[in-house]
Symmetry: C2
Subunit: 295 residues, 2 copies
């Protein structure tokens, strides 16, 4: 197994437990650089044929992409464009791709099944993931043998590089007497623990046979409000802290306050998550608090 990463968010330390595995190699490369990617993928494929690519690289910080659209152009979109082209040139047949619920934008009360439209994302991140899906579907028509697209929900767990839990943990480490919450706390979302996400992808990878298919992956419940998360984080890590809420129902530009994300198609394949949103949140909260030295 070959891993390609530029470590702009992750780190080699995260891979320490696999470092000595004889069939696992890490290559430090920026997937947004077309020439080097095509060259490296071609060289690796000529050494040991590559059957499938798991393309997970992307900017994962939505606000960062709002502030500078070039972040998502490069890290979210051009990474996909270059990986798909390298697969075409090299003849690698199968891609598994981490897309996102952010491609749906804000469709109000619409139940977000995989085939809803129109798709008008409200963040650069969502736009560049939608663009990536398009590049992949076009490549399926012309060269790829199979593409599975996974639309991720809010994923939690460690190592955490962004998200509400890390935000809260870092604020509390800096000032254990108060916790400022972006938005008014009513934002409610389903959360999936990263271990369940990996489990769902492997399940789909082993069971789906369609040439091009797409699955929402996410919690099967109504989710947890930001207020609940804030209260439980404070109780766990800084019982003295006072909660300070904002007034908006959105945490930031591009945030979707509440959405109805259907995972029925995934459930119909027989898969079930091991943890509901609240349990996933409680576990991830302890993990992130430990990661940040709060416990």
């Amino acid at each position: 197994m070959q891993a390609l990463d530029n470590f702009c968010r992750g780190s080699r330390a995260n891979l320490a437990e696999f470092a000595t595995h004889p069939r696992f190699t890490v290559h430090e490369i920026d997937l947004a650089d077309e020439g080097p990617v095509t060259e490296l993928v071609g060289r690796l494929h000529s050494q040991v044929p590559i059957d499938e690519v798991w393309h997970l690289a992307a900017n994962s910080d939505i606000p960062a992409g709002i502030a500078d659209p070039n972040v998502d152009l490069r890290d979210t979109f051009l990474t996909t464009f270059n990986v798909v082209n390298a697969m075409k040139v090299t003849g690698i047949p199968k891609i598994l791709f981490a897309s996102t619920s952010a491609i749906y934008g804000d469709l109000g009360a619409t139940v977000l099944q995989e085939d809803v439209g129109p798709l008008f994302p409200i963040s650069s991140y969502g736009a560049m993931k939608l663009a990536s899906e398009g590049v992949i579907s076009a490549a399926v028509e012309s060269s790829l043998q199979q593409a599975l697209i996974f639309r991720f929900p809010n994923v939690i767990g460690v190592p955490a590089t962004h998200g509400v839990l890390l935000d809260f943990a870092r604020k509390l480490r800096k000032d254990p007497m108060r916790l400022e919450v972006l938005g008014n706390g009513t934002q409610q979302k389903g959360y999936l623990h990263v271990s369940d996400l990996v489990d769902a992808m492997l399940h789909l990878r082993n069971s789906v046979t369609r040439k091009l298919d797409v699955f929402n992956i996410g919690a099967v419940d109504e989710g947890v409000s930001v207020r609940t998360i804030a209260e439980e984080m404070v109780a766990l890590a800084a019982p003295q802290a006072r909660l300070e809420f904002g007034t908006s129902s959105k945490g930031w530009v591009g945030d979707v306050p509440r959405f109805r994300y259907s995972v029925q198609k995934l459930l119909d394949t027989g898969w079930r998550p091991a943890m509901g949103s609240h349990l996933a949140m409680k576990r991830a909260m302890a993990e992130v608090a430990a990661q940040e030295g709060l416990l």
Copy 2:
């Protein structure tokens, strides 16, 4: 009015009739080059404030984009990305954008209303137009005041730079005794004359008030088959020619053989085309034949 073009498909001669208009200026620039675009748009806006941008620039040759995805990456997508960013930086409030029915991919018998999904384009061109729509919808959330997206059908008329009529005219000019048709001739599509397309866009521009809206623009009828087009072109320009059909129901990879394109939303605004598909085709056929020196 400022026109920005790199003339990779059009030409300055096409603009001859406007060249002496005191309020019309042409700037030769490649919109795929971020820095120069931001600089030029900013400079023009500081001289005379720009109220709206009609972003029509794109690669229009779908097969060319299949052969080399970088064509659509640059000409179809990065042009949009850079124009939208320049508008953000400069503070231009309104964009009108030429998208395409190709974003729908091949949804089989599904009636293609503006809100269908999933959106899995089967060409690089469609993928990069879908990506462009996403960039625009994200920009509406963060900075633009209004965006109207027009999804174009098959547009015909002159000056023609690509398409079935030009293909046929050039083949017949080269060899007036035979006409090779890509595909088996059963592909059937609605066609809109470019004059009706412009009329529809101006109508929508003057009547739609929603912050973000999207309209299919196209013929209101079932369209014309490639066989009919071939037969009429031969009758018009090369009566001796023998027709030679292929065997596939698709003309090329990325071609969608038959699709049900709804323009009901456009009709509900009160607009009607002056010409049906067949009449538009007959007029454009004469125009293209004349352009190519066949008549």
